[in-house]
């Protein structure tokens, strides 16, 4: 039984420690990803708006 107790203690505390590191990394780097995602979506939005405008342009342009 002592072996199991040791295994679960290491699992719990080890996991908690690793999760703290992951949480800090994801909080910081995830914020950067949110900004990049919104920029990317903004570009897609502008691109699709341009494509919708194109047929309306006069042929001389």
């Amino acid at each position: 039984m002592t072996i199991w107790q040791t295994i679960w203690a290491i699992t719990l505390f080890g996991l908690l420690a690793v999760f703290v590191v992951l949480a800090v990394a994801v909080t910081v780097l995830g914020a950067r990803d949110v900004i990049q995602m919104l920029q990317g979506l903004n570009d897609q939005l502008e691109q699709s708006a341009d494509e919708q405008d194109e047929p309306a342009r006069p042929p001389s342009e």
Binding site: M1, W4, Q5, W8, A9, T11, L12, L15, L16, V18, F19, V20, L22, A23, A25, V26, T27, L29, G30, A31, R32, D33, V34, Q36, M37, L38, G40, L41, N42, Q44, L45, S48
Partner: protein, 537 residues
């Protein structure tokens, strides 16, 4: 339930303000990102603009829902530390998937948005439609109890009277909020709120765990489990709650929950590229283990607190026997963990934790609602209409589907009679889909002789997992006992493992006996149609 315990919760006005603020921010995000929704890819897949770290946050946010906390805490209360094996298996399987790219790598390479879309490429349109119907049906059934038990948590931790209409009222309010911002923003709002949830929840679970250990003491926690559960409280194979067949069933569930379950796979398919997918899974393996083990530990602490510190009538109510975990037959056992947290955490912090849990509740709901509804639109209705649906019509149908599923979940939560544990319900309802889907994906991606007829047969055979659902399984057990005269105890694990094995056998046999006609290659036909649909959108 003895109601006086609810008066001991530390939830105060300031905590309501914290929760209210969080909900207001979530709704504002839904409104703000609405302008980005100009295509189905943007609505369902966040325009495939999700980076690795945001991917980890959103996968964790989705998979660590309030329902996850509730069913894992229940497992900890019933089975002690032995329940941790579920989390360890889930983490290891996710790590292996991340390192090897098994299933998710090739799927992302195919560039599909949903799993049934892959079915069409590999097995043809009919398999996609049938697969979509089974997937959506099983998925909606699977989330049927999310709303109810999420609301039970909120009622328990805030100290509302559970004997009145509190649960039904909280269910209604929460559902309306989730529907509002999911319908508006789709996957983009889901991803951003998932990120917020990750930040708040990570802080919350670490602080709560440290406080629980500090209050009870590690030695007391271990010795109480040891004295009441003996070896079964630590060794899953010796536990009366789990046992060897349960552990095997959990290996299948671990693989499914990360690599086949559509809400998790939807995250993989929304990633920028395959490399990001694999990194996402590798790092998320920690979250997959944490999402199970930490709430299980809270469940263990709840059990220890009731056994050693709760008033006598509470002890008698939840722990009527001198040995074993919390009474699994008790209908209100799900109140135990939130009530414990309500007494453990100080005012202010309890508001933050509740906000995090509400966030978990909402992010799971929004993801699941969006996932099942988009499956109905993309994989059932659109193929039936020969893809003659405009982007606007698809988004409108998806939004209607979200509302209809929400109403069903509300109804099911109120009226489903239950039977068995919550986690067991989740796995067996999921199995209706994943037994067939897992075989189709692995067979389709890695076995060249997998055929369309084999796929269809496997999908239908996978539905046999339905026999494991509480009320149906009870009748099946009675029927088997009366016909054979033997004392049989049929568990969800037995039915699930049988269903998985049967589906594999049927898939292989039918594929070998009825191979595809090379002249009708669905890969080429589907590629042409998808290319045409892509140009159109």
């Amino acid at each position: 339930m003895p109601l006086e315990i609810l008066h001991g919760t530390n939830f105060a006005t300031v905590d309501w303000i914290i929760v209210g603020l969080y909900l207001a921010i979530s709704v504002m995000i839904g409104l703000e990102v609405r302008r980005y929704v100009n295509s189905m890819a943007a609505y369902v897949g966040a325009g495939r603009q999700v980076g690795t770290w945001l991917g980890i946050a959103t996968m964790t946010g989705t998979e660590m829902g309030l329902i996850t906390v509730m069913y894992n805490a229940e497992a900890g209360m019933k089975g002690g530390f032995a329940a941790f094996h579920i989390g360890v298996i889930a983490g290891l399987v996710t790590l292996i998937i991340g390192l090897s790219g098994f299933i998710v790598g090739p799927l992302r390479r195919h560039g599909v948005l949903t799993i049934p879309e892959y079915y069409e490429r590999r097995y043809g349109r009919n398999v996609r439609i049938v697969g979509g119907i089974i997937l959506a049906g099983a998925g909606i059934l699977n989330m049927g109890l999310f709303l109810k038990y999420g609301s039970v948590f909120i009622v328990g931790i805030t100290g509302m009277n559970p004997n009145g209409n509190a649960v039904a009222t909280v269910m209604t309010v929460m559902l309306l909020l989730v529907l509002f911002y999911t319908v508006l923003g789709g996957m983009i709002s889901v991803v951003i709120t998932d990120y917020l949830q990750f930040v708040v929840l990570s802080f919350g679970i670490v602080v709560t765990t440290v406080l629980a250990i500090n209050q009870l003491g590690w030695q007391e926690i271990v010795s109480t489990v040891e004295s009441r559960m003996q070896l079964g409280g630590f060794d899953p194979t010796a536990s009366p709650v789990f046992g060897p067949s349960y552990v095997m069933w959990m290996i299948a569930a671990g693989l499914v929950s990360c690599a086949i379950w559509p809400t998790a796979v939807a995250r993989a398919l929304a990633m920028k590229d395959e490399r990001s997918v694999r990194r996402q899974y590798t790092f998320s393996s920690i979250s997959f283990a944490v999402r199970a083990i930490i709430p299980m530990f809270w469940g263990v602490c709840t059990f220890v607190w009731i056994a050693n510190h709760a008033p006598e009538n509470i002890q008698q109510h939840f722990l009527p026997n001198q040995t074993g975990g919390i009474n699994p037959e008790l209908a209100d056992r799900f109140y135990a963990m939130p009530i414990y947290l309500g007494q453990l955490l100080p005012s202010g912090l309890i508001g933050v934790i509740t906000a995090a849990m509400v966030a978990a509740f909402m992010s799971t709901h929004d993801s699941y609602l969006l996932c099942w509804s988009s499956v109905i639109t993309q994989d059932v209705i659109a193929p039936l209409k020969n893809d003659n649906l405009s982007v606007r019509a698809r988004i409108a149908i998806t939004r209607c589907g979200i509302v209809c599923i929400g109403i069903f979940v509300w109804w099911w939560g109120l009226f489903y009679p239950g039977g068995g544990g919550l986690w067991e319900y989740m796995v067996i309802t999921g199995a209706i889909y994943f037994t067939g889907a897992g075989v189709l994906l692995v067979g389709g991606l890695y076995w060249s002789r997998a055929s369309r007829r084999g796929a269809m047969a496997a999908l239908l055979t996978g539905c046999s997992a339905l026999l494991g659902l509480g009320p149906i399984r009870t009748r099946l057990t009675d029927l088997l006992q009366s016909s054979t005269g033997l004392e049989l105890k049929l568990t969800e694990a037995h039915v699930g493992l049988f269903s998985v094995c049967l589906t594999i056998v049927v898939f292989v046999l039918v594929s070998l006996c009825c191979p595809d006609d090379p002249a009708e290659d669905p890969l080429t036909a589907a590629d042409d149609k998808l290319a045409a649909a892509g140009e159109e959108s």
